[in-house]
């Protein structure tokens, strides 16, 4: 691709070490087997001397550990493998959703080291109260992390709504939130994490964005481009391009639920007509399947739908087929526009993927010009429930791996 990297900033002496710290640590994170210093030297193009010096810094900063050497055939001094440290920095992930609060801690290697979920209907709960509960859960998570030798270096909060760059939740319709300034509301509470240079104390982001990041994290590392669709009451999408989340000019990308699929069709609460949400949103599917509307909790409605489809219920099957077709029309447009090779069905769509994938694939095959040469994969998400919380925590450790100098420069 075109290397049009915008002038980021001055490159001074120290930047050199910063960049090589990130380079080496990134290789260790991306490797499937613990690499030796010599492996890293050949992989990065640096000399072994430099790699040794860099690794020494990483070891001292508790970012990597030496592991048992991978057995190797042939002569020679045995290598000492390097792995991401299982004690050291970790990320705190928070999630507020319609019917649960979730908190988790993810370590450098991407392992979930702590997880708490409180199920409760959050719609009648005021934002202040919801955040207070979350802070309490986060405090326990921090203590548990400390017990395991982990230091929380930053936090990210997933919210099912539109969030601007400053953490202001503009609109979270299904929560009933409107212009909630999350950072200001948290100012009264003690800090959730340590302060680490270069790592923001709290990032607030859209649930769909963070779930997509979680999916990115669970894949083999490297530049990936895919669309992650979270099918909840609303339909949101996280767009990962070349291994990075694309947030849009204002941070409001991914509103796939309001892609027009029948421009003169059903009116939508967004003011438009024929939005995807009206045909493939959870309420639409449930209604089309003839399920009682009383089954409000999203989980049970989805589960019931999957049960019925499994049992061969004609109404459920037809509802899922129609929803999948509408979804496929939208996805085909996105693939035509962005030339993605993978579409991930997450959130409430994941358990319904066996019935949604075929019609989606059919629409892609019929509508995408380039599908013949570069096939498009449609698959369910690998992360299960609370994917956004895991993705949120993962986004923190991802930042540390991408810029370890900040962590190393901290006082401790």
């Amino acid at each position: 691709m075109s290397p049009t990297n915008a002038p980021a900033g001055a490159v001074r002496q120290g930047s050199l070490r910063e960049l090589n710290l990130a380079l080496v640590l990134g290789r260790i994170a991306a490797a499937d087997r613990p690499p030796s210093r010599a492996d890293l030297a050949t992989a990065t193009g640096l000399t072994r001397a430099t790699v040794s010096a860099v690794v020494e810094d990483l070891l001292a900063g508790q970012l990597v550990d030496e592991a048992d050497p991978a057995p190797r055939a042939g002569a020679g001094r045995p290598a000492r493998g390097l792995v991401l440290a299982d004690q050291g920095p970790a990320g705190l992930g928070l999630e507020i959703n319609v019917d649960y609060l979730a908190v988790c801690v993810v370590d450098l290697a991407g392992q979930v080291r702590h997880r708490t979920v409180h199920r409760a209907d959050l719609r009648p709960v005021a934002p202040t109260e919801a955040l207070a509960r979350l802070v309490a859960m986060a405090g326990q998570a921090r203590a548990d992390a400390a017990r395991q030798g982990l230091t929380l270096a930053g936090a990210a909060l997933a919210v099912p709504g539109l969030v601007d760059g400053a953490g202001l939740v503009r609109l979270a319709p299904n929560l009933g939130w409107h212009d909630v300034p999350v950072p200001a509301l948290l100012a009264g509470h003690p800090p959730l994490t340590e302060q680490v240079p270069g790592v923001p104390a709290l990032v607030v982001d859209n649930e769909a964005n963070l779930a997509a990041l979680g999916e990115l994290h669970s894949r083999p590392p490297g530049p990936a481009s895919f669309l992650h669709i979270s099918g909840e009451v609303g339909i949101g999408a996280g767009i990962v391009l070349n291994g990075a989340l694309f947030r849009g000019v204002r941070g409001w990308s991914g509103e796939i639920g309001h892609l027009p699929v029948h421009p003169q069709g059903r009116p939508c609460r967004c003011g438009g007509q024929g939005c995807l949400e009206q045909y493939a949103g959870q309420e639409a599917i449930v209604a089309a399947a003839g399920l009682a509307r009383a089954e409000l909790p999203a989980d049970t409605a989805t589960a019931r739908l999957a049960e019925l489809a499994e049992a061969g219920d004609a109404g459920a099957l037809r509802a899922l087929h129609d929803a999948g077709t509408a979804l496929g029309v939208a996805v085909a447009g996105v693939v035509n526009l962005l030339d993605l090779d993978t579409v991930v069905l997450g959130g409430g769509y994941a358990p319904l993927a066996p019935w949604l994938c075929p019609p989606v694939l059919a629409e892609i095959a019929g509508r995408v010009l380039t599908a013949a040469w570069s096939p498009v994969t449609v698959r369910p998400a690998t992360l299960g429930a609370e994917a956004a919380a895991v993705g949120a925590a993962g986004s923190v450790v991802r930042q540390i791996v991408a810029r370890p100098a900040g962590w190393l420069a901290r006082s401790g």
Copy 2:
């Protein structure tokens, strides 16, 4: 690419200078007034000593020139302004389209220093012959560039079709091209440009992509995200995200013409139904306006349409309104998905923009959730005809500005 087979990412001593060369040159290119060395030092964060050393390299390499100092109030030794050199490297832009061949030369500052257009119907012409004509035109361009003290450092070719990463034109339906290996066909001809490390000899890309790059180049520099729509017989789009063209996983992004706007609507030659092209493509508009189909040359058909609309012809106005509405449905989807703040109407749409913009804006207002907070601008392209050729040439000089070390490392 570059002869140094060092794995990408290794940051060695020399990289430091490479990065700072790019940093300083980028600032000079982005400045609206010729900056002094001292200005650059404060802007980049480097010391004046370093900036002086870097600028010395740039001056020696004919990338920048010293200009008359900008008059400044107050005491002190007058600054010496730095501007991009008007002699030195330049980019060669080539374009093959349905009814013309175009060649142009763009210098570092983005000025078009040479331009040739040969009008002819290229559909009955074999690819080999078309390329041969282009090579002849390029030869003259090179000579003219040399007369002006310019050295062609690389070339880019715009084609109205799908191009893969290796320069193979998979499909150019309106030219009748199918699997045309452009680099192989050019192998027999003498090289179009000098060989410069780090600058590919010839890039073949989609016309819409390169036209979008041209538009990016003509804007105030900096990270921009916009959608550039080229309305020709087909409808293509170039997607610029954060100042870089997004090409997609396989390089086939931007097929906006096949976004479904009426999923059960008119059949499209792509195999799908209700594609945008069937409602907002040039042929569709012309047919809806009741114009004789015989007016084949695209330019005249568009011009005639604009004339009729100007004169208040009801049929033309209705046709344009309907096309704009269809376009608006597609654009609303894209904006919902990507959160772009600007949509540029280029190609055949540019002269029709006065009539297309209102319905497009109306659809955006009605369908985009976030439009209330972040307004979306819809405007005609600033570059006129042969925008793709200019964009192609501009993409070459852009690469040199982004990575000047390659140019400086050349033999000369």
